[in-house]
C-alpha cells in the first residue's frame, strides 16, 4: 500500500428533518489495498460513500480524493462504483450495461467495447453478455455490476455491500475478484456489515457507528492488543509452578493458560517448565481477536456505539494451532 488516496475530515451530513447521518467523520484510506468500512445498518456507511461519489451533498466536508476536492466531478472518471441494490436497465444486455456506463464515464467507444469483452470474461459472464439483464439471477447482476464499476479502469473502486444477496459460491468468486483488483494495483473500498468476509480480504478497516469512525487501522494493528497464546494441559501442576506462572502474568483458568503476547518466544520457557514437571501439552494455539469481536467491542458499551453488551451474540475467536 502506498499514499493516502482518500483523506477526509470533519465530514457531516444532516438530512432534512434533523437526522444526522454523519457526525464529523475523518478517514484516511491508503492506496493499493482493500479497505473495509464496517458498521451496523444505519451507521452512515452508505451516506459516506455517496458523499464521496457526489450522490449526496455533504453538510460539511473537508478533504480530497485522489488529490482533488470531494465533489470534483472529473475525478469521478478515475473512480468506479457499485451501489447497494444496484439496478440496471432490464432492457439492456449485460455487455450493453457495461458499455452504457463506459459512455457515461467518458470512455471512448472502441475502448469500451474492448473493456466490456475483457470484463465479461473476468467476471465469468462471457457467455451471458448478450442476454438481457431481466434474465439474470441476483448473482449475475452483481457480477455485471462489478464489471461496470471497472469499465473506466478506475484507481479506486467503491463497492457498497457487494455480496448482499449473493450465494456462498458467488461470494467466494467475488472475494477472488476483489483480490484480483488489488493485485492490479487498484484501491478497493468495500462497505459491508459481513465482517467474516471482510476479515478474509481487507488490508485495513474502519469501524463506523452512529455517524462516526470509532476505530481505524490495519486488522493486525487493531487486533494486536488482544493477541495471545493459549495452552491446554493435562496432568497436575505443582503449586510452586502455578504461583510462578501467575506471577509472570500467565492467566490460568482450569486446564487452560493464556499468555498475552504477540511473540511466541516467551512461551518456550513455560513449555519447558511444564514438560519438566511431566505435564502433557494437549494444545498450543495462537489466538487473535476476530474482526467480529473487535467490531462488537467497538460498538458496544459506553462508547460511541451503545449496543448493549448482553445483546452480543456468541462468537468463536479465530484460532490458529501451532
Amino acid at each position: 500500500m502506498s499514499e493516502i488516496v482518500i483523506d477526509i475530515a470533519e465530514t457531516r451530513k444532516k438530512y432534512r428533518g434533523g437526522v444526522e447521518a454523519l457526525r464529523g467523520v475523518s478517514l484516511q484510506v491508503p492506496g493499493g489495498g482493500i479497505f473495509g468500512l464496517l458498521g451496523p445498518n444505519g451507521a452512515g456507511k452508505s451516506t459516506l460513500v455517496k458523499i464521496l461519489m457526489s450522490i449526496v451533498r455533504p453538510t460539511q466536508c473537508m478533504g480530497s480524493m485522489l488529490g482533488l476536492a470531494i465533489g470534483h466531478k472529473p475525478t469521478l472518471a478515475r473512480v468506479g462504483y457499485l451501489p447497494e441494490h444496484a439496478r440496471f436497465p432490464e432492457y439492456l444486455k449485460g455487455g450493453e450495461v457495461i458499455r452504457y456506463v463506459a459512455g457515461l464515464a467518458g470512455v471512448s467507444r472502441s475502448t469500451a467495447k474492448q473493456r466490456s469483452t475483457e470484463l465479461l470474461e473476468m467476471v465469468g459472464m462471457k457467455d451471458w453478455g448478450n442476454h438481457k439483464m431481466g434474465t439474470y439471477s441476483k448473482g449475475m447482476k452483481q457480477r455485471i455490476g462489478l464489471a461496470q464499476a471497472l469499465v473506466n479502469d478506475p484507481e479506486i473502486v467503491f463497492l457498497d455491500e457487494p455480496t448482499d444477496g449473493v450465494d456462498p459460491q458467488g461470494r467466494l468468486e467475488m472475494r477472488n475478484l476483489l483480490q484480483t483488483m488489488r493485485d492490479q494495483g487498484r484501491t478497493v473500498f468495500i462497505n459491508s456489515h459481513l465482517l467474516g468476509e471482510l476479515e478474509m480480504i481487507c488490508d485495513s478497516v474502519a469501524i463506523m457507528d452512529k455517524g462516526q469512525i470509532i476505530r481505524q487501522g490495519t486488522i493486525g494493528e487493531l487486533t494486536e492488543k488482544s493477541q495471545r497464546y493459549e495452552l491446554r494441559t493435562q496432568g497436575d501442576i505443582s503449586s510452586d509452578l502455578l504461583n510462578k506462572l501467575t506471577s509472570d502474568g500467565v492467566e490460568i483458568e482450569g486446564d487452560t493458560m493464556s499468555v498475552y503476547q504477540a511473540d511466541p518466544t516467551p512461551m518456550q520457557p513455560i513449555l519447558d517448565a511444564l514438560r519438566s514437571e511431566g505435564v502433557t501439552i494437549v494444545e498450543l494455539r495462537e489466538v487473535r481477536q476476530s474482526l467480529e469481536e473487535l467490531f462488537m467491542e467497538s460498538v458496544s458499551g459506553d462508547g460511541v456505539g451503545g449496543i448493549q453488551k448482553n445483546s452480543t451474540p456468541p462468537q468463536l475467536p479465530r484460532k490458529e494451532t501451532v
Binding site: P74, P83, A86, E96, Q148
Partner: protein, 338 residues
C-alpha cells in the same frame, strides 16, 4: 459529447423496448396509410385506393382546392387529433415512468456518480424522452409527404414542421410530469399531474377560442345567434364587437397567458405550411372568385381568428412556462440527495 450521445442512445433503446412505442407507431402508420389512400380524380375524390368515390365539381384532380383539402385533412384533423391528442396521451403514458424509474435508488446512483454534470444528465434525459414523439411524428410526416407528392403533386417539405411543433407541444406537457416525478418519484402522480395540467390548459384555450369567436368573429361576419331558440341570422353589414364578450375574452386571455398554448402551438402548423406560396391561414387568398360578400366576410373573419395570436406570443409564453417548470425540476434534481 460522448456522455450526451450515450444518454440519448440509451433513451432510444428504452423507448424501443416499450411495447406502447411500437403500438403507437403501428397505429400512426395505419392512419397515415389511410390518408395516403385518399386521391383525386377528374370527377372528385377517391377513398381507400379507389374503393369508394365521392363526386365533386370543385375538388377535383390538379385543383388548388384538392390540394388545400388534402393538406387541411393533415393540419386540421390528423395533426391536432391523432398526433396532437391521442398519440400524445399514449406517448405520455409510455414515457411517464422514465424519470421515476431513473430516480430509483440503485439506478440513479450509477448515473450521478459519473463525471457528467447533473444539469446535463437531467436535460439530456428529458430530451431523450421527447424522442418518443419526435420519431413517431417524423415517420408519420414521411408517409404524409410522399402521399401529398404522389396524390396532389405537392412535394411540400413544410409538413415536417409538424415534427418540432408536436415535439414542443409534448415537451410542454411532459415537463409537468418530470417536475412531479422529481418531486415525488411517483409515476402515477406525475401522469395525473401532467394530464391535469393539460386539461386545464385545453379548457382555458377552448374558452378563449369560444370567447374570441363570440366577441369578434361572429360580429365581423354579421352573424347573430339567438341562444334561446338557436336561430342564426345574418345582417347585411359587420357588427361591432360585443362589449361583454370582449371583456370576458380579455379575462380568459389574461388567465391563459402564463399557461402553455398546446392547442394553438399545434395549429401553428397551418401558418408554417403554404399551398402554392400561400399561407394556409390566409383564407381570403383561397376563396373562390365567385364567392359572395358573406363568404368573403366570413373568410376575412376566419383569417383574423386564425391569426389572432402571434407566433411569438404562442411560442414565447409556452417557452416561458416550460422554462419555469423545467428550471424548477432541474434545480430540484441538482440539489437532491439520492
Amino acid at each position: 459529447m460522448r456522455q450526451i450521445l450515450t444518454i440519448l442512445w440509451d433513451s432510444y433503446r428504452l423507448l424501443a423496448a416499450k411495447k406502447l412505442f411500437w403500438i403507437v407507431l403501428s397505429l400512426s402508420v395505419l392512419i397515415s396509410m389511410c390518408y395516403a389512400s385518399v386521391g383525386f380524380t377528374p370527377e372528385g375524390i377517391s377513398v381507400f385506393f379507389g374503393a369508394y368515390h365521392i363526386e365533386s365539381d370543385i375538388i377535383v384532380a390538379d385543383s388548388i382546392f384538392a390540394e388545400y383539402l388534402y393538406m387541411m385533412i393533415f393540419t386540421d384533423y390528423l395533426v391536432p387529433w391523432w398526433l396532437g391528442m391521442f398519440a400524445l396521451v399514449l406517448a405520455l403514458i409510455s414515457v411517464c415512468p422514465v424519470f421515476p424509474d431513473f430516480l430509483k435508488s440503485g439506478s440513479i446512483d450509477v448515473a450521478v456518480s459519473k463525471p457528467v454534470s447533473r444539469v446535463t444528465l437531467f436535460l439530456v434525459k428529458y430530451l431523450g424522452c421527447l424522442l418518443f414523439v419526435a420519431i413517431q411524428v417524423l415517420i408519420f410526416c414521411v408517409i404524409v409527404f410522399f402521399a401529398q407528392g404522389l396524390r396532389v403533386n405537392a412535394w411540400n417539405v413544410e409538413v415536417f414542421w409538424a415534427v418540432p411543433l408536436l415535439t414542443f407541444v409534448f415537451s410542454l406537457i411532459y415537463c409537468v410530469a418530470v417536475l412531479t416525478a422529481v418531486w415525488t418519484r411517483s409515476t402515477l402522480f406525475s401522469l395525473l399531474m401532467a394530464l391535469l395540467m393539460w386539461g386545464v390548459t385545453l379548457a382555458v384555450q377552448w374558452a378563449e377560442m369560444f370567447a374570441y369567436a363570440e366577441a369578434y368573429t361572429k360580429p365581423a361576419v354579421g352573424m347573430q345567434m339567438d341562444f334561446k331558440t338557436g336561430e342564426i341570422s345574418y345582417s347585411d353589414e359587420p357588427q361591432e364587437p360585443d362589449a361583454g364578450m370582449v371583456k370576458f375574452h380579455n379575462v380568459v386571455k389574461a388567465v391563459g397567458s402564463p399557461l402553455p398554448k398546446t392547442r394553438e402551438a399545434t395549429y401553428l402548423l397551418k401558418k408554417k405550411i403554404s399551398i402554392q406560396g400561400k399561407n394556409m391561414t390566409r383564407m381570403t387568398e383561397f376563396i373562390d372568385m365567385s364567392a359572395d360578400k358573406y363568404e368573403r366576410r366570413q373568410a376575412k373573419a376566419q383569417e383574423a381568428y386564425e391569426n389572432r395570436h402571434s407566433q411569438v406570443y404562442i411560442i414565447g409564453t409556452s417557452l416561458a412556462f416550460e422554462f419555469c417548470i423545467l428550471g424548477l425540476a432541474c434545480w430540484m434534481f441538482t440539489r437532491k440527495d439520492f
